[in-house]
């Protein structure tokens, strides 16, 4: 709370709340709700049972119906709070339901069957998590295999992207040569070319070089990202040429200049690109879908889609798998976000 107060008084100097302080905080708090709300709602929903997911109005928290084992019945029975005709309420277990009438039984007196209209009862529930939403996809689907494929694609594509893009950006920012502007034009020009524009011809090229139905067919077409080259080049332009000249005087070869001087200094930009590359490749959907037809090569996104595309959409599984798909990316982000903040600070040359 003292942090809030010091914020409010720091920027504008006075002890009064400047209107911009109030707007700022409203914006930030609103942002917090709007940005995280949907994801939290997703996580909450992913723990709900199929029956609960179909309810309206939906509950904020996941509940599970209480069940009880009743003598004479093998399976546990669902408990309901029933309003009896005499006005009293009682907790009964449901045996079976026919139309609007349910046959129910008192768990303490298992032989007395009571017929109850379903309008006069409601299930006994407590907060609980339908964890089977998470555990079952591992059994029913090749979830682990998809995960491994996704990790492989993401890691390889990111490494190759960082290396090739930074090399190209280095050449385009620190050398004068004929055709440089043309190359830059090509690269910036293709910034504007969405994958789906060249989807059809790309498909035939990839199949011509024999990469159809291979993870490398997913990786290679994505690594020469114009965005990465563009981003890194803009950053490298800010590295003073004098530093490179100094290295040349220090007997450094051009490769050493790239590797020992420019690359470390471009670390903040590389980190940004690494984050985006990881996220892009992890999240890639359309291209893997087109290239991969063998199920064991599917990435997570494609696997998720296959699941969501089934005739009978099982939301409880989809929501849970969606949450799992989110987790690694969030972890990577949290790790690299810290790295970026420290990386941008403290460069000696101004």
């Amino acid at each position: 709370m003292s942090g809030v107060v010091s914020f409010l008084t720091r920027r504008r100097g006075g002890r009064f709340w400047h209107w911009t302080d109030i707007v700022s905080w409203l914006w930030l708090i609103g942002g917090l709700v709007v940005m995280f709300g949907p994801a939290i709602w997703l996580v909450g929903s992913s723990f709900k049972t199929p029956a609960q997911l179909a309810e309206f109005p939906p509950t904020i928290l996941p509940y599970v119906s209480q069940q009880a084992t009743v003598e004479g019945h093998d399976k546990p029975l669902t408990l309901y709070r029933v309003k009896l005709p005499d006005g009293s309420t009682k907790v009964l277990a449901e045996l079976r339901r026919i139309g609007t009438v349910a046959q129910m039984v008192d768990p303490k007196a298992p032989n007395d069957i009571v017929k109850v209209n379903i309008a006069s009862r409601e299930p006994v529930r407590e907060i609980g998590f339908a964890t089977e939403n998470y555990t079952e996809p591992f059994v029913h689907f090749d979830f682990l295999r998809y995960l491994r494929n996704s990790v492989f694609v993401t890691a390889m594509a990111t490494l190759i992207t960082l290396l090739t893009n930074s090399m190209a950006a280095f050449a385009l920012s620190k050398y004068r040569f004929r055709g440089r502007d043309l190359t830059m034009l090509l690269i910036v020009g293709t910034l504007m070319v969405p994958l789906s524009v060249i989807l059809v011809p790309l498909y035939s090229v990839v199949s011509a070089v024999g990469l159809l139905d291979s993870l490398w067919g997913v990786i290679l077409p994505t690594v020469a990202t114009p965005t990465g080259v563009f981003l890194l080049r803009q950053y490298m332009l800010t590295i003073p040429d004098e530093l490179l000249d100094a290295a040349r005087m220090d007997n450094a070869s051009e490769w050493q200049i790239y590797w020992r001087i420019v690359l470390p200094l471009a670390a903040p930009a590389l980190a940004v690109l690494a984050i985006f590359s990881v996220v892009w490749r992890w999240n890639d959907f359309l291209w893997p879908l087109v290239v991969l037809s063998r199920k064991e090569l599917y990435t997570l996104q494609v696997g998720l889609n296959t699941y969501a595309g089934q005739l009978n959409v099982q939301w409880h599984y989809i929501l849970a798998m969606t949450v799992v798909t989110m987790i690694p990316v969030v972890l990577v982000f949290v790790f690299l976000q810290r790295y970026i903040t420290s990386g941008i600070a403290g460069t000696g040359l101004k």
Partner: protein, 340 residues
């Protein structure tokens, strides 16, 4: 040094060692290459890997695309297709009035063009304003800036599929939005079956998903503006609004241009999240160009890769113009920073 830190250092060194070793090995042949070809040859070397991949998987398909657009049939390999010249283009451009999609032979294409145009304008405008506002607020001396920055950046990570699914889940009949409407005494509504609300949802969801990225770029630009400029303005008694228009905005311009151009590119490409969210519906109200191209090229029963190619090339032409414009603006900014 603690045991953990020692371990970290050692792991780092162990991981780095092979890479460093590899880099120094690479240096040996490269030095002779440099001696033989000069720095010009080194430029070629540095460009080669990227440009080879780029050439095979971007440029070649781009060129082949033109041949596709001049052929007909449903086969994917060029040799299996029949040459038809400009027929596909004629088909696309055959229109009574370009403003009335019903008069067009390929009315879906023109529907998609109109929808995309509107989407791009509204979405980029909204994106720019929201990102600037957020970046300005994050640039203030707020407590926990990195936390707040992370908050707005968070959705950028989500895959379009996930984003689409999340919002479909929220906007559906039993969704969160209807819960809020219900709690406020309103009637639940099928948001995604309404043309206006579906469009609004498409724009809002895509802004929601990507604004963090642009905010990050703008924030970096804002933090690069020297503090003493603001202090000088404060000494002059400049009003905050004037500081924004005369100092912040002009100095932020390079970053802002990057943001607008990138936002344009993304907006024109819009596909995945809207496709998952609305499927292009209701009707064709959120059918955008990429989806049209994708469906005609791959998905639809009336598959016609040639027509898809022709449509994509028409879209590409518009993008080329935008690119040239951007390059012109960018070069002007760059010349300012050129050395003596």
């Amino acid at each position: 040094m603690t045991a953990a830190a020692t371990l970290k250092t050692w792991t780092g060194a162990a991981l780095a060692a092979p890479v460093v070793w590899l880099a120094s090995i690479v240096n040996v042949p490269l030095k002779s290459w440099q001696r033989a070809t000069g720095t010009g040859g080194m430029a070629a070397f540095f460009l080669a890997p990227n440009m080879a991949i780029f050439g095979i998987f971007v440029l070649v398909p781009l060129v082949i695309n033109f041949f596709y657009s001049a052929t007909s049939g449903t086969a994917y390999f060029l040799q299996d297709r029949t040459y038809v010249g400009l027929e596909q283009y004629q088909r696309l451009l055959d229109c009574g009035s370009y403003l009335d999609t019903a008069t067009c032979r390929e009315d879906l294409f023109w529907k998609a063009v109109h929808n995309t145009g509107l989407f791009v304008v509204v979405q980029v405008a909204m994106m720019t304003i929201v990102s600037i506002a957020t970046a300005l607020i994050l640039n203030r001396e707020i407590v926990g800036r990195s936390f707040w920055r992370a908050v707005f950046f968070f959705p950028v990570l989500l895959s379009p599929v996930v984003t689409g699914l999340i919002w479909r889940w929220i906007l559906q009949r039993q969704g969160l939005l209807n819960l809020i409407v219900h709690d406020m005494g309103g009637e639940p509504y099928n948001w995604l079956t309404d043309r206006f609300w579906a469009f609004t949802a498409a724009v809002s969801v895509s802004v929601w998903a990507h604004m963090g990225f642009y905010t990050l770029i703008l924030l970096a630009g804002l933090q690069a503006i020297p503090r003493d400029l603001y202090e000088a303005a404060e000494m002059d008694g400049t009003k905050p609004a004037r500081v924004f228009w005369r100092i912040t905005l002009p100095l932020l311009m390079p970053n802002l241009l990057v943001v607008i151009v990138l936002a344009l590119i993304r907006a024109v490409q819009i596909f995945d999240e809207v496709y998952v969210l609305t499927g292009g519906g209701p009707g064709t109200s959120t059918l955008y160009l990429t989806q049209y191209i994708y469906e005609i090229g791959f998905a639809s029963l009336l598959r016609n890769p040639g027509l898809a190619s022709a449509a994509s090339i028409l879209m590409g032409l518009v993008l080329v113009v935008l690119t040239l414009l951007q390059l012109q603006v960018g070069r002007r900014g760059e010349r300012k920073g050129a050395r003596e």
